[in-house]
């Protein structure tokens, strides 16, 4: 799936690198997957936590989902901003 935003403007979007990172993860290469896109594992964790909470109804599941969501989205934002800064002045 190509990123139309990147094709249009030449700048990465916050999701760029996710698919490549996911492919690396499927091949079992955790370190290069993390280097490619650090937020992939937290995103997958949050999605998995939500799915399992909806199935099994954990007692404190909602609170855990909330915190995991906040951590995930801050990792996404920080990694995106740092990636932008690194690409602007290498």
């Amino acid at each position: 799936m190509p990123c139309y935003y990147k094709e249009l403007s030449g700048i990465d979007c916050p999701g760029c690198g996710m698919q490549r990172s996911f492919i690396e993860l499927l091949q079992g290469d955790f370190i290069s997957s993390f280097k490619m896109y650090p937020a992939l594992l937290p995103v997958l964790f949050t999605l998995g936590l939500t799915a399992s909470h909806l199935f099994f109804n954990f007692k404190k599941g909602a609170a855990f989902i909330k915190y995991s969501f906040i951590v995930t989205i801050s990792i996404v934002t920080i990694s995106y901003i740092s990636k932008l800064l690194i690409t602007v002045n290498p």
Partner: protein, 130 residues
């Protein structure tokens, strides 16, 4: 004036619910899981252009507002777990919507900036047409 002395049937029903059914509500709040799922998916949606995340987040916020109104009208009948789900989903939706909106506004400003720069450039002088 209307009859204030005799309570209406709805009133009695509400009082009964508040007195007896409060801790043992069994029903799920309608749409509470939908709000949670939409709120979570709005992070994934904030990536490309921010539009998807914005739409999903706003839908989740509207749904959570309606569900919250239902809950407030009749707090006893709904289960506590679904209320927690609803609140968590609402917070996730708020964060997702804010980030998507920020990203979207950033993109609009970026595009507008480049559009004005490109149109305001003295192309005639640059290309050498006198």
């Amino acid at each position: 004036m209307e009859n204030q002395g005799t309570p209406s049937p709805e009133n009695i029903n509400q009082q009964f619910n508040q007195q007896f059914a409060q801790p043992f509500g069994q029903q799920q709040i309608p749409n509470s899981t939908a709000v949670l799922v939409l709120g979570i998916i709005s992070i994934v949606g904030c990536f490309c252009y921010g539009i998807i995340g914005l739409i999903l987040g706003i839908i989740a916020l509207v749904l959570s507002g309606k569900a919250n109104a239902l809950y407030q009208a009749n707090p006893g009948t709904y289960s506590e777990a679904s209320l927690k789900n609803l609140k968590a989903g609402k917070i996730c939706a708020i964060i997702g919507t804010c980030l998507s909106a920020l990203y979207f506004i950033f993109l609009v400003i970026y595009i507008a900036f480049f559009a004005t720069v490109l149109t305001a450039m003295p192309w005639g002088n640059i290309l050498g047409h006198h």
